[in-house]
């Protein structure tokens, strides 16, 4: 049976069903429903795995005193072996960057949800996609990456949150779920999975008591000569595998398209509406919707047709545009339409732009 959930609630429910055993967060619009849902449901969820691996414990919910505290609590919980998550919106995610860098440097899994709002600064609470650079270029210091997943509907928000926990554990990297205010607030029917949660993989590296074994060490501080470079090379090797194996995208009408729209998240939904109008008027328009923003899907851009043109659509001013240009490699024309700060490109604006390009 389907139930009606907002994107925020679906992310929270997805996390609980994925065995999230620790959540810390600090309120900010437009993602407050995640915190509210976790506050209500985490203490009664029996998904948390005891550190002994025997039996299950209650999930832990903490409303932290700040975003800095929240991300560092996630850092600690993850080091201790928990499936840990936090969520925030743009300005709060900026505050978390130091902690995210430490988590990445310490090779720890975590899920971080960013339901983006307008910026820069305190901005406003309108939906936006202007944190793309921050999310995909490692927003904090140092050479690191997050796996960034961008759902476009509430069902996908639910599904990708669960995927996010699995990827985080598999590769020991932080995973970001990147949505916008529309996705977070909108309600849609969701089919809940009935899959039983697998007990989390044994985390041999976790700090869960070292009686009878050598102590584990988790750190992002490497002073000995050559040690940091070794650690970084290990990260880079991991990233190369992720780039090879974990790209995700949706392609529509790519075989006959003369103009291919490129959009992610909410923007891709509006693009789809424009495409169905344009195609019913006989115009050959396609869509590439990156689902993983990092690693960015290169493969769909290797289309043989030399006359195909791309139109990148964003609720920001040309951020994903750079990745599309890199993927296209100067071989095709790449056009752009973007609005931000509360403005969202409309179907009509997309259609007009496409007609100009055709």
């Amino acid at each position: 049976m389907k139930i009606l959930l907002s994107g925020n609630e679906a992310i929270a429910q997805g996390a609980i069903q994925a065995g999230c055993s620790f959540y810390a967060g600090y309120p900010i619009t437009p993602q407050n429903e995640i915190i509210a849902y976790m506050a209500k449901h985490m203490p009664s969820s029996r998904t948390g795995v005891c550190r002994t691996g025997k039996g299950q414990s209650q999930g832990v919910f903490i409303q932290a005193e700040s975003e800095l505290a929240a991300i560092n609590m996630v850092y600690g919980a993850s080091a201790a072996g928990a499936r840990a998550m936090t969520s925030s919106s743009s300005p709060g995610i900026s505050l978390m960057q130091e902690g995210i860098s430490y988590i990445a440097g310490s090779q720890l899994p975590a899920v971080i949800v960013n339901i983006m709002r307008g910026g820069p600064g305190l901005g406003n609470i309108a939906p936006a996609q202007s944190d793309y650079f921050q999310a995909t270029r490692s927003g904090g210091h140092g050479d690191y990456h997050l796996i960034v997943l961008a759902p476009a509907c509430v069902q996908e928000a639910y599904d990708l949150t669960q995927t996010g926990f699995d990827l985080a554990d598999r590769y020991r990297v932080p995973v970001m779920i990147l949505g916008d205010g529309i996705l977070g607030q909108m309600m849609e029917p969701v089919q809940l999975s009935t899959k039983k949660i697998k007990v989390s993989l044994a985390k041999s590296w976790a700090l869960d008591g070292c009686q009878g074994r050598k102590p584990n060490i988790i750190k992002s501080f490497f002073l000995r000569e050559g040690a940091l470079e070794d650690a970084n090379l290990k990260l880079q090797k991991n990233y190369a595998i992720i780039q090879q194996k974990e790209t995700r995208y949706e392609g529509l009408f790519l075989s006959d398209a003369k103009v291919i729209l490129v959009a992610y998240g909410t923007m891709a939904r509006i693009a789809k509406s424009a495409i169905s109008q344009l195609r019913s008027a006989g115009k050959k328009i396609g869509l590439i919707r990156p689902i993983s923003l990092w690693p960015f899907p290169q493969q769909p851009f290797s289309i043989k047709n030399s006359r195909v043109k791309y139109l990148v659509l964003e609720m920001s001013y040309g951020q994903m545009l750079e990745d599309v240009r890199l993927a296209v490699g100067g071989r095709r024309e790449v056009e752009f339409l973007g609005r931000s700060g509360g403005g969202v490109p409309s179907e009509e604006q997309i259609i007009n732009k496409v007609k100009k390009i055709l």
Partner: protein, 178 residues
């Protein structure tokens, strides 16, 4: 089929709930549906709105720029949204709290939803009178399914609330639609 509905009124009039009942019912009938709320600093007494799109096909943006139907429960909301109705669209208006002159560009159904609700003994059910009025005019969802949704979301142990909502819906369905 695609129906884009904007529901607006004062905070506390139950516009969000009206939209959720519509959305839940559409979901129950296997339709595609999105419900999108105003999520700014809405407060009791200020205006509040939500946008519901019901369709047989995948829905693009949940944000509505041109509505097939406007359901308006107070005057400030009428002023704010009257320009967002499409040509020949339907305006359902709570004439207890807002008035509008006849207009060839839209179909207008205006009834005193709030007064009807007061007569039923609970001013809060004006939203469900309006819902009845909408369903009788557009018939895109079935009344028996709305009643199912009522039952599933009504607080347990307070049969009176369920009953007055059912009555309100029936009053709305009965309103004249020529």
């Amino acid at each position: 089929m695609i129906e884009r509905i904007i529901i607006a009124g004062s905070g506390g009039q139950g516009v969000m709930l009206l939209g959720k009942v519509l959305a839940q019912t559409a979901m129950l009938e296997g339709k595609q549906v999105t419900w999108f709320p105003a999520y700014g600093p809405e407060v009791r007494g200020g205006t509040s709105h939500c946008m519901v799109t019901i369709s047989d096909q995948e829905i693009g943006s949940p944000y509505i720029t041109e509505a097939d139907t406007l359901i308006i429960l107070n005057h400030p909301s009428l002023e704010k949204f009257k320009g967002m109705i499409k040509n020949k669209g339907l305006l359902i208006l709570n004439s207890s709290l807002a008035k509008i002159d006849a207009d060839v560009k839209k179909k207008i159904l205006q009834f005193p939803f709030t007064d009807i609700a007061i007569r039923l003994g609970n001013i809060k059910v004006a939203n469900m009178v309006a819902l009845g009025c909408f369903v009788a005019a557009k018939k895109i969802i079935k009344v028996k399914n709305i009643l199912k949704v009522f039952k599933s979301i009504a607080p347990t142990g307070n049969l009176k609330i369920l009953e007055v909502n059912q009555q309100a819906l029936k009053e709305g369905l009965r309103l004249n639609h020529d």
